[in-house]
C-alpha cells in the first residue's frame, strides 16, 4: 500500500458547486480503483475555492497477477497424425510460450488446446498515469468553460496546477499544458505560489502558506470567531446556515470581523437591512439580546487579519452606500401608493402567452374571492389583498432587491394604512418558498397564496407549459407543493378540485405532489398512501387524518391478515367480473356466510357512526374486527357454488363488503408481509 494524493489546482470555483464536485470525484476515483482491481484504504476529500483534493492513506502498489485458461484451436485441427499443424504453432506463439507447455482440455464440443496464461499485475502508478486526466475532466459541474481555446478541455474554471503523488513519486499526467508535479500553491496573498509537498507534509505545508484545507476547520473558525466578536459587543450573531456554507467555500483562510452602521438606518424595515447584509454583502446580521436588530454586522475576510482596520472601514462604507440606496428607494416609492400602481401592472409581463400582471391580478382576485367564500373568510379583504399583491413589482425597492417581492408589498401596505390582515396576506403571498419554509401565517395569506399559485398552475397547464424532467422554469412543482401544504396544514378546509380546473394533466401533477408530500415530508409508507388515496383525496386534511389512523391501526393483529383477505376478495371479484352486488338473505345458506353478513351489517353501521365523528381509528379498528368472520367464510364457504344464484349472492356479499368498507382506505392496497 502506498499513500496517494491528488490536488486539482484551479482558479476560484463557485462555492456552491464544491461539495457536489468532491462527492463526484470520490465516486469516480473509487470506480477507477474497483475497475482495475486495486485495494485501497479510506478516501479523504477536501476543498477550498482553489483546490479539489483527494487523499488516500493506502492504495495497493500494483494489481495482483492473475491466471486464466485461454482455449485455442480444437485438437483435431491442431494435430494431424500426431504432428502439430501450423494452427498449433500459431497458438503457442500467440501465448508466447513453447508448444510443449500447451495443454489439452476437454469441452462439450470436444478436445481443445489450452494454455494457463499468467497476466502480470500492472503497477498502480501506470494505471493512474493514464487515467487521471480523464478522471479529472469527468468531474461533473453545472456549467463548464474552455480556457485553452476552442475544442480544448472543459472544466469549471481554468486548471493551473496539478499535484499527483503515489508514495514519493509524481504520477505523470497533464491537462492543457499543465503537468502534474509535487508542487502546490498557497493562499494568493498569505502564501507562496510554489510550495513543494509530500503526502505527509501536504496539509501542514498549506497551513504554513495561509490555507486551511479542512472545511470543518474553516467553518469552526468562522463560527467561533463570529461568536467571540459578538460576545465582546454584548450582541448575538445570527449564523445563517446557507451563508455560512458559502463563506466556508469562498475562503481559504476565513477571518471574521465586526462592523458597525449608524443607528439611523435601523428605521428601515429589518427585512430590507437583512437582505442587503445577507444576500448582497454576505454579512451575518447581528441581534441584541432582546432579539431586535443591532447596528452591527459580521463580515468574513479571506485573509488573516485587518491590522489597520481598513477592511472593516471599507465594508462599512459599502454597506452605508447600500443602505442609503435602499432608503432612497423607499422614499421614492412612497410617492405613489400601491393602490395607485395597479393600472401600471398592465406594463409588466407575466408571460408572453399569459398576458401581464394586471390580467393576472384580476384572475387572482376573482379566484381568491371564491376561495374566501368557500372558507368563510372576508371576501372583500381577500380581494383587496389580491388587488394590491403584485403592485410592489413596480417599486424601485423590489427592482433593486427582487428577493423581497411580496415582503415589500406587505410593508408598504401596512405603511400606507391598509388593513393589517390585508398587509399580512400580501407579505406572505409567496410562502411557502421551500419544502420546510413556513406557510402564510394568516387565513387570508393562505388564501392569497393558494389563489396566486393556483392561477399560475392552471394558466401554465392551459397552454401546455408542463414541467418535464428537471426542467421547470416557472417553478410549478414548488407552486403545487405549496398548495398541497397549505391545504393540509392551513386553516381553511378547501377541496383540491378548486385548483385543478378539471384539467387531467394538472390533476395528475397534483397527485404526484400529494404522494410526495405524504411520503417524503410526512413519512407515511407508500402502500399506506396508496390505500388512503385510492379511497379519495379531494379533502387533503381528511386524507391526512385517515393516514394517521391507518398508521396507528396497522400494527394491530387483525389488520394485515384482513388486508390480505381484501386483496383476495378484489381478485375474486375481478375474475368473476362482478361490479355490483345485492345480497338476498334467504340465499345465505351456510352458517359462516350468515355470520359474516350479520357482522358486516353491524360493523358497517358502526363505521358510519364513527366516521360522522371523524373517529377514523375507531372505524378502522371496527373493520379489522371482521377478520375472524372473513377467515371463517373463506374456510367454510365455497364462493363458486354450483347454483348460480347462490354464487352471485356470495359475490354480492363480498362486493358490498369491499366497497362499503374501503371508503377510509382501500385495504387491498396494503402490502402484507
Amino acid at each position: 500500500m502506498l499513500p496517494f494524493i491528488l490536488e486539482i489546482g484551479t482558479e476560484e470555483i463557485p462555492d456552491w458547486m464544491i461539495p457536489g464536485a468532491l462527492e463526484n470525484l470520490q465516486n469516480l476515483f473509487t470506480e477507477l480503483l474497483t475497475k482495475h482491481r486495486l485495494q485501497h484504504e479510506a478516501l479523504q476529500l477536501d476543498a477550498t475555492p482553489r483546490r479539489l483534493v483527494l487523499r488516500c492513506s493506502g492504495v495497493q502498489e500494483a494489481q495482483e497477477s492473475t491466471e486464466s485458461l485461454v482455449t485455442g484451436p480444437p485438437v483435431s485441427a491442431a494435430f494431424k497424425n500426431d504432428q502439430p499443424t501450423p494452427a498449433a504453432h500459431a497458438f503457442a506463439k500467440k501465448m508466447n510460450t513453447a508448444l510443449e507447455n500447451i495443454q489439452r482440455v476437454a469441452t462439450p464440443k470436444g478436445e481443445y488446446l489450452a494454455f494457463q496464461q499468467k497476466v502480470e499485475g500492472r503497477p498502480t502508478a501506470a494505471i493512474l498515469s493514464e487515467s487521471l486526466a480523464e478522471l479529472v475532466l469527468s468531474i461533473h459541474f453545472p456549467k463548464n468553460m474552455v480556457w485553452a481555446g476552442k475544442g480544448t478541455s472543459r472544466f469549471i474554471r481554468p486548471i493551473r496546477w496539478l499535484v499527483a503523488l503515489l508514495g514519493d513519486t509524481v504520477v505523470p499526467f497533464s491537462i492543457e499544458g499543465v503537468s502534474s508535479s509535487n508542487t502546490t500553491a498557497g493562499h494568493r496573498r498569505l502564501g507562496k505560489n510554489s510550495v513543494p509537498v509530500t503526502y505527509a507534509t501536504y496539509e501542514q505545508a498549506l497551513r504554513d502558506n495561509g490555507v486551511i484545507l479542512s472545511a470543518d476547520e474553516r467553518r469552526k473558525r468562522i463560527v467561533e470567531g463570529s461568536e467571540a466578536l459578538a460576545v465582546a459587543k454584548g450582541v448575538k450573531v445570527s449564523l445563517d446556515a446557507d451563508l455560512l456554507e458559502t463563506l466556508v467555500y469562498i475562503t481559504e483562510f476565513p477571518t471574521p470581523i465586526l462592523g458597525t452602521f449608524a443607528d439611523e438606518y435601523l428605521t428601515l424595515p429589518q427585512e430590507v437591512l437583512i437582505t442587503v447584509m445577507k444576500h448582497h454583502q454576505k454579512y451575518f446580521a447581528v441581534h441584541r439580546m432582546d432579539g431586535s436588530l443591532a447596528p452591527h454586522f459580521v463580515a468574513v475576510m479571506n485573509t488573516a487579519a485587518d491590522p489597520e482596520g481598513l477592511v472593516v472601514n471599507g465594508n462599512q462604507r459599502v454597506l452605508r452606500a447600500r443602505f442609503n440606496d435602499a432608503r432612497f428607494f423607499w422614499d421614492v416609492d412612497q410617492k405613489k401608493t400601491l393602490a395607485d400602481r395597479v393600472e401600471s401592472l398592465g406594463n409588466v409581463t407575466f408571460h408572453a402567452k399569459l398576458g401581464n400582471y394586471l390580467e393576472k391580478t384580476n384572475r387572482n382576485r376573482s379566484l381568491v374571492g371564491k376561495l374566501a367564500e368557500l372558507a368563510g373568510a372576508d371576501k372583500a379583504h381577500a380581494e383587496r389583498a389580491a388587488e394590491l399583491a403584485k403592485c410592489d413589482l413596480t417599486t424601485e425597492l423590489v427592482k433593486e432587491f427582487t428577493e423581497l417581492q411580496g415582503v415589500v408589498g406587505g410593508l408598504y401596505a401596512r405603511f400606507q394604512g391598509e388593513l393589517e390582515t390585508v398587509a399580512a396576506a400580501i407579505y406572505d403571498q409567496y410562502k411557502p418558498t421551500s419544502m420546510d419554509g413556513d406557510i402564510p401565517a394568516t387565513l387570508l395569506g393562505q388564501l392569497l397564496s393558494l389563489a396566486d399559485k393556483g392561477d399560475t398552475l392552471s394558466s401554465c397547464f392551459s397552454i401546455g407549459l408542463i414541467p418535464k424532467g428537471s426542467s421547470d422554469p416557472f417553478a410549478l412543482r414548488r407552486a403545487a407543493q405549496g398548495i398541497v401544504r397549505i391545504l393540509v396544514e392551513g386553516e381553511a378546509k378547501l377541496n383540491l378540485e378548486a385548483f385543478d380546473g378539471g384539467n387531467a394533466a394538472l390533476r395528475e401533477f397534483f397527485t404526484d405532489r400529494i404522494r410526495y408530500y405524504f411520503r417524503e415530508v410526512r413519512g407515511f409508507a407508500y402502500d399506506e398512501v396508496n390505500a388512503v388515496m385510492a379511497a379519495g383525496f379531494a379533502d387533503l386534511k381528511d386524507a391526512l387524518q385517515r393516514l394517521e389512523a391507518l398508521r396507528e391501526v396497522r400494527p394491530t393483529a387483525d389488520f394485515e391478515p384482513l388486508a390480505a383477505s381484501f386483496k383476495r376478495i378484489k381478485n375474486i371479484l375481478r375474475q368473476a367480473e362482478v361490479s355490483s352486488g345485492a345480497v338476498r338473505q334467504e340465499l345465505l345458506t351456510e352458517d359462516a356466510e350468515q355470520a359474516l353478513y350479520q357482522e358486516f351489517i353491524q360493523v358497517r353501521d358502526r363505521v358510519k357512526q364513527l366516521r360522522i365523528s371523524d373517529d377514523y381509528k375507531g372505524a378502522l379498528t371496527a373493520i379489522a374486527s371482521l377478520r375472524p368472520a372473513v377467515d371463517a367464510f373463506f374456510d367454510k364457504v365455497l364462493v363458486n357454488a354450483e347454483d348460480q344464484n347462490v354464487r352471485l349472492n356470495r359475490l354480492g356479499l363480498l362486493h358490498q363488503l369491499l366497497t362499503e368498507l374501503s371508503a377510509i382506505a382501500d385495504f387491498s392496497e396494503i402490502v402484507t408481509r
Binding site: M301, N302, V311
Partner: protein, 303 residues
C-alpha cells in the same frame, strides 16, 4: 480609508495604462461612438473573434441612460468610465497580473480583503457570454473578470480574458470619499466640476425631453443601414475593402438608441424582447461578416 496622498482619478488611469502597457498591451483611446460598455467597442467585440492574438487596454466612457440620477445619487451615473483590458489568449498568470495591477494603483493587498465571487456574464444583444467573477475588495465590487466563451454567436478560437475596472468606484474607494462627485480628478478639480452638468442634463434629456418618435425613427434608420450593408457583403467584389466596421457602427447606434428608448419608458416589456432581438440580429450579422472578411470563416452558428 485615510490615505496621506490619495491617488487622483487621472493618476489612477495613468498607472493602469502604464501597468498594462508594460505587460504587453496596446493602449487604445476611447471609442468615439456611444456605447453601453467597453465590451461593445470593436476593440473587444470584433477583436476577440478569430485566431489572432490581441492585447489591448483602454478607458471607455459607458452610457447607461436608465442609470442616470440627475447628478443626485452618490453612486449611480448615466455615464461611468470603464477601464477595459483584453488579453487574448489568456496568460496562465492573468489573475496574478490583475492583482499586481491593483498594487500598481496603490492598493496594499496585504492590508485588504480580496474575494472572487462567481458572476457569469451574458449579453443577449451581442450573442455573447462568458464565465467569471466579480472581484470584491473589502466588500466592494471593483472589477468584472470574464473568460469570453462566445461572441457574436461564434465559439471563440482563443479564449480571451476581459477585465473591466469601474474607475469611479475604485477612485472613491482609494480616496475614501462617499460620493463619486467628491472624487478628486486632479488637485483643484473634482469629478463634480468635470462631469456633473453632463449627468444632470443627460438625465433631463433621457428621461424627459428625448423625442420618442424621433428616437424610433433614428433606430429604424440605423437598423436599416446596418442591414443594407450586411446584405451587400456577399456580392461585393473586393471583400477586404468592404466597410464591416462601418456596419458595426450602425449597430452601436441602434444599441444606444434602444437604451435611450428604454430609459424613456417607451418600450413595453413585451416589446423589449423583440427589440433586443432586432439589435442582436444586426450585431451577429456583423460578427459573421467580420469572420468571413478577416478569416474566410463560413457561417458556423445559427444566430
Amino acid at each position: 480609508m485615510s490615505h496621506p496622498h490619495p491617488i487622483s482619478y487621472q493618476d489612477l488611469i495613468f498607472r493602469l495604462k502604464r501597468f498594462w502597457a508594460e505587460n504587453g498591451c496596446i493602449i487604445q483611446e476611447p471609442y468615439d461612438l456611444e456605447v453601453g460598455a467597453g465590451t461593445m467597442c470593436p476593440e473587444t467585440f470584433l477583436r476577440v473573434l478569430g485566431p489572432n492574438p490581441y492585447r489591448v487596454a483602454y478607458v471607455q466612457p459607458s452610457r447607461r441612460p436608465a442609470d442616470g440620477r440627475y447628478g443626485d445619487n452618490p453612486n449611480r451615473l448615466y455615464k461611468h468610465m470603464q477601464f477595459q483590458v483584453i488579453a487574448k489568449p489568456t496568460p496562465a498568470n492573468i489573475i496574478e497580473l490583475y492583482l499586481q495591477s491593483l498594487e500598481a494603483i496603490g492598493i496594499d493587498l496585504s492590508k485588504h480583503d480580496i474575494k472572487f465571487e462567481e458572476d457569469n456574464w451574458e449579453s443577449p444583444t451581442l450573442g455573447a457570454w462568458g464565465i467569471g467573477w466579480q472581484v470584491m475588495l473589502d466588500g466592494l465590487e471593483i472589477t468584472q473578470f470574464t473568460y469570453f466563451q462566445q461572441c457574436g454567436g461564434f465559439d471563440l478560437d482563443l479564449v480571451p480574458a476581459e477585465i473591466t475596472y469601474g474607475l469611479e468606484r475604485l477612485t472613491a474607494f482609494l480616496q475614501g470619499v462617499e460620493s463619486v462627485y467628491d472624487i478628486e480628478w486632479t488637485p483643484g478639480f473634482s469629478y463634480r466640476t468635470v462631469r456633473h452638468a453632463d449627468e444632470l442634463q443627460s438625465s433631463v434629456y433621457n428621461f424627459e425631453l428625448a423625442d420618442i418618435g424621433a428616437l424610433w425613427k433614428l433606430f429604424e434608420i440605423h437598423e436599416a443601414e446596418a442591414q443594407r450593408l450586411i446584405d451587400a457583403f456577399a456580392d461585393y467584389p473586393e471583400p477586404k475593402r468592404f466597410p464591416v466596421l462601418s456596419a458595426y457602427e450602425q449597430v452601436l447606434k441602434c444599441s444606444n438608441l434602444f437604451n435611450l428608448l428604454d430609459a424613456r419608458g417607451a418600450i413595453s416589456v413585451t416589446e423589449r424582447v423583440a427589440v433586443i432581438g432586432r439589435v442582436r440580429k444586426v450585431a451577429v450579422g456583423v460578427a459573421k461578416l467580420w469572420m468571413a472578411q478577416q478569416f474566410g470563416a463560413a457561417e458556423e452558428v445559427a444566430a
